[in-house]
């Protein structure tokens, strides 16, 4: 069931992204960019909870860590199919830092999203199992964030 849902989500995502540029309402594009940023902020918020514990700047608390990891996993599972409309790349949409290359490399984008999901699942399994287990899962999450940012995020305006 979960796999099927994932498949549908990803198929929808790839369709939206590979479809020829349909004239999009500027307001809808603006909303999509804002939604993406909101999702990213929530990633950062939950990663911060885990990261500060991992760095020793906060005391490790298994329940808090588990909560943050579960939130992270819930976030990556959000349906992204409507969040990346054509015309919402950096330079075309205000505030966007998504490189146009994203829309030409959808298979790779989806592969990177799947890798992020795998890393979030690993973190979800590790976060409540002690500080060391959580710290060990941190690198995978950071690597998954960075892999996509490296390829598809432009510098700030």
């Amino acid at each position: 069931m979960r796999l099927a849902k994932k498949f549908i989500t990803l198929t929808a995502l790839s369709l939206t992204l590979s479809a020829p540029a349909i004239a999009q309402d500027a307001k809808a594009i603006d909303g999509a960019v804002k939604a993406r940023k909101a999702q990213m902020s929530l990633y950062a918020f939950n990663l911060g909870i885990l990261g500060n514990m991992a760095k020793g700047q906060a005391d490790y608390d298994a329940a808090v860590a588990q909560g943050a990891a579960s939130s992270l996993l819930a976030l990556i599972r959000l349906d992204a199919s409507q969040m990346w409309p054509a015309g919402s790349e950096q330079g075309a949409a205000a505030g966007s830092r998504a490189k146009p290359e994203m829309w030409n490399n959808m298979n790779d984008v989806i592969a990177k999203a799947m890798a992020m999901q795998a890393a979030a699942e690993a973190m979800d399994g590790a976060a409540g199992q002690g500080l060391e287990a959580m710290q060990a899962a941190m690198g995978g999450v950071g690597g998954a964030c960075s892999a996509c940012h490296k390829a598809y995020r432009g510098p700030k305006e």
Binding site: Y43, K55, S146
Partner: protein, 296 residues
């Protein structure tokens, strides 16, 4: 009248010759590297600090494949598109036929073994203060890397920049980096200065340039337009970057910012390289960045 013209032509030829002589590609004594025994293990760190693989590996290479320096990475600029060449040890397509001194001439003077000027997309404008020991170590390390038979791609540069001899004038104006206004007060800052200004060539992207592509040293690390796309490469002087030294070291290690954003774009590749250095080197870079004059 005819005599005057003849003199003018002669003078012109002499002027051109003199100009060429003044801007001819510089080289070291061919024996300059003799007796310098490189250490490949140390060279691996020079290689990481210099970010060689970030440009010279194939554009989509990851993991171990980043050590195959096949080239092909494109660098769009105002002057045209440059392509990083194959610098793997392949004798035909790469630099397998080079000697250590050829690498030194490339890094210190931007001069090829056949006496051509390199385009400054290759950052010899920063590498030109690399120590001879680091070059010898780097050379030793590069010998251990896999060869690639991928031919280098020709640059796509418009006239007059397509005339390589014109780079001699450019070098006369802009090459020959000097330590910036920063005055290190201890060994750590000195190491940081060397890593940032020379091997790391941070100023190549983080400092703005004039219309001819010369670095604006009085706005050192003050940020610049993205040379190959949208957005700006950020100002990393204390005027704009208020992270603690510990924050900076963390960023250079894991790629996480203090707000748990993660490094992206070219900087993600830089972080991958910096993470391979000893922590003392990352701390040295942080210490240096704290003492750079603020650029508002």
């Amino acid at each position: 009248m005819l005599r005057l013209l003849k003199w003018l032509v002669l003078l012109g030829v002499a002027g051109l010759g003199l100009g060429y002589w003044f801007t001819r590609p510089a080289t070291l004594d061919p024996l300059a590297m003799d007796g310098l025994q490189g250490d490949a293990e140390a060279g691996a760190l020079v290689f990481a600090a210099g970010g060689c693989a970030s440009c010279h590996a194939a554009p989509d290479a990851t993991g171990e494949a980043k050590l195959i320096l096949a080239g092909g990475h494109a660098f769009p600029s105002d002057f045209g598109t440059f392509y990083a060449p194959n610098i793997s040890p392949d004798p035909t397509q790469g630099i397998g036929g080079w000697q250590a001194v050829d690498l030194a001439n490339a890094m210190l003077f931007g001069t090829s073994p056949t006496g051509q000027h390199y385009y400054p997309a290759f950052p010899y404008t920063s590498y030109d203060r690399t120590s001879m020991k680091d070059i010898a170590d780097l050379w030793a390390y590069m010998q251990t890397l896999p060869a690639s038979e991928t031919p280098s791609k020709a640059h796509d540069v418009s006239f007059p920049f397509s005339i390589r001899a014109s780079l001699g004038g450019w070098k006369l104006l802009f090459a020959g980096s000097e330590p910036t206004a920063v005055e290190p007060t201890n060994a750590e800052m000195q190491r940081g200065q060397y890593l940032v200004e020379v091997l790391g060539h941070c100023g190549e992207c983080h400092t703005s340039r004039n219309a001819l592509g010369g670095v604006n040293y009085d706005a050192w690390l003050g940020g610049a337009p993205n040379p190959s796309g949208q957005g700006r490469i950020p100002n990393i002087t204390p005027a704009a970057l208020d992270w603690s030294e510990a924050d900076l070291v963390e960023y250079f290690t894991s790629g996480f910012t203090p707000d748990f954003d993660s490094a992206g774009g070219e900087m993600a590749a830089v972080v991958e390289n910096l993470a391979k250095l000893p922590e003392s080197d990352r701390a040295a870079i942080a210490a240096y960045l704290k003492m750079v004059p603020p650029v508002e």
